[in-house]
Amino acid sequence: MSLSSIARLTGAAALVGLSAMAAQAQTSGEPIKIGAIVSATGAGAGLGIPERNGLLLAEKDINAKGGVKGRPIKIIIEDDASNPDTALSKANDLIFGQKVVALLGPSLTASTVAVGGVTHPNKIPQIAFTGIGPAVERERKCVAHVLPPQRLNAQALLEYAKSIKATKVGVLHDAGYGNVVMAELRPLADKYGVKLVAVEKFEIGATDTTTQAAKVKAAQPEAVFIIATSATPFRNVKQIQIAQPVIAAIGSSSYEYVNAMGPAADNIAIPEFVVGEDPLPHQKAFVDLYKQTYNSTPKNYEAAAWDAAHIIATALTKAGADATGEKLCEAMKAPYTGVLANYNFSADDMTGIPISSFVFSKIVGGKYTRTPFRVAQ
């Protein structure tokens, strides 16, 4: 490297540093407090910890870019220990004690619905890190969701099956998350011309699902859907040598599960949103910043939390830091292009994520590779 190029690089680095400092220096005044509830401990920690990372990074990024009209934001993060009762107490503290202007999270559906019982009547905007849950959530027009409804997850599985021309599909699903997706999958399968030749359910936390996997194999499907939050069914499917393509729902897309699957993870296809190893152009800045900060590759939940924080900051910039909850809520409803997906919170499902936001990855040697397949809107 020549001296002049070193000088140019140093100059550029200094410029970036200075501009960052200038941007940081722009924030002044009392921070705008935003509350967040995640499941950092307990059964939901696999979601809550990445979400907390995403929130902390977003806070840093928003403040480095001048905050909200020059005022910094402060995200106060609380842990609900994966317990809806605790989430309720934390929400009361954040809203009435700490006087936050909006609430991000929680990580789990039960906590989200419980917290919505406080945010909705008190007109506090909430952006949950879950897909829409029971019917009552459709009435809560200021409780937005940054993850897709289960119907959309079911649709994405079927789109992939259609793309590989599989018309006979076997399903292995757990009794919790898998059951909810399955309820949406059944009526949709007919529309896609897909016949569900075997549907086998297993208990949450089951340590062996070989019997169910064998029944699916016996039905001779052309592809197998696995809808669960566990690595066990993937290992069992490999053990009994099911050779057909395996398509996993987003629930088991984290590195944690893929590592637990071991060699059984190879060739599994997953409809999801963020492939950190090969991000889409609009995801690259987030992925690079995340890798730089945490020295690891982000996935969907980090991006969902990052998006939620940016959406609320954008709404605050638009409506003003002192805007009422209702005004903030209105501002939040404008279409937003996020890292995870494109959102439109005025949609009926309080998410508005289009199927075209999905990317489809395949696991090769424990790493995710993004396939060229996308669904047009």
Partner: protein, 317 residues
């Protein structure tokens, strides 16, 4: 006597004033303390007076909560119907299950109740047509007393605690009654009690049914407070935390149940400020209480009082 009355009056004034002076999240925790006190009372009766370890209280708590949720949300019935339906189903189930399993004793009985809790937890998941499964049932209305809506913790606090005091009075009467004497006789020596023609099984079943009633009441109160019920609130872990209430507070003491309920609601909240290790710290605190204070916090308090009184007596001499 007069000083005792004065203490009671002061305690009542503090109780009545508390929700007006504490932040909303503390009022919310006090509501949960009341709810857990009711659920813990039943366990305390079984543990302290019958020597039975009940690990199935979350089942009755769940039945009460789901009955209230289903009756009000799915059927549009008044809240009282949910309370009554939950109590009736819980008591009937406790009777039917209690008759056979209460023949067991010691660890086997504890395991029997644990099995009941595990089965109920699985059914709450599986019967999603009734319970909403993983998604649960949301939109449970707040209680409305003659047009006065109990829609915030400071209001609900009074209702929950009045119910809790009524349950405490009922438990006190039971312990002080002829049945209470029989219970203690059975706990201390079941053979001797049987020789005195105490019908052990019937007595145990009756207390198990009362315990289920308290559990169901607590569950219905929880449903109307949280406005949402899902399987996550009624797992085996919840049964264990209910059992901790009398173990920590003191199983034979009714005020001890309140102390135990305060411990399991407030301590995790305060420890959560210390970061992700809060659950480990809570575990350590539990171990410390169980090892150092085997008869609970109220037992330790009682011993301290006796020791102080003895010391004062010595000084007087």
């Amino acid at each position: 006597m007069q000083s005792r009355l004065l203490w009671i009056a002061v305690a009542l004034v503090i109780w009545a004033a508390l929700p007006f002076f504490v932040p909303r999240n503390i009022a919310d925790l006090l509501v949960f303390t009341g709810i857990y006190t009711i659920a813990g009372l039943g366990i305390g009766l079984l543990l302290g007076h019958c020597g039975i370890v009940n690990l199935a209280q979350a089942t009755f708590y769940g039945l009460g909560a789901y009955a209230s949720a289903y009756c009000t949300v799915m059927m549009g019935l008044p809240s009282i119907v949910g309370f009554v339906a939950g109590a009736a189903i819980s008591m009937a189930l406790a009777y039917v299950i209690g008759r056979p399993i209460l023949r067991l004793t010691g660890y086997f009985l504890a395991l029997g109740t644990l099995a009941l809790s595990a089965i109920a937890s699985a059914l709450f998941f599986e019967w999603d047509w009734l319970t909403g499964g993983t998604l649960g049932i949301g939109g449970i209305p707040k209680l409305n007393l003659f047009g006065f809506v109990l829609d915030r913790p400071s209001r609900y606090y009074f209702f929950v605690w009045i119910v809790a005091f009524a349950c405490m009075a009922a438990a006190h009467n039971l312990v002080d009654s002829r049945s209470g004497l029989m219970l203690r006789a059975m706990r201390d020596s079941s053979t001797a009690a049987a020789a005195l023609s105490v019908d052990l099984q019937s007595l145990r079943t009756r207390v198990f049914v009362v315990c289920a009633l308290f559990g169901s009441l607590a569950g219905s109160l929880f449903a109307h407070h949280a406005s949402f019920v899902s399987t996550q609130s009624f797992g085996v872990d919840r049964s264990i935390s209910f059992l901790l209430i009398p173990v920590i507070g003191g199983a034979t003491s009714i005020p001890g149940i309140v102390v135990g309920a305060l411990f399991v609601t407030f301590l995790p909240e305060f420890l959560s400020k210390l970061g992700d290790i809060h659950q480990i710290l809570f575990g350590l605190a539990l171990v410390a209480v169980v090892v150092l204070l085997p008869d609970g916090l109220m037992g330790a308090f009682g011993r301290l009082r006796t020791r102080l009184a003895a010391r004062q007596g010595n000084h007087a001499r």
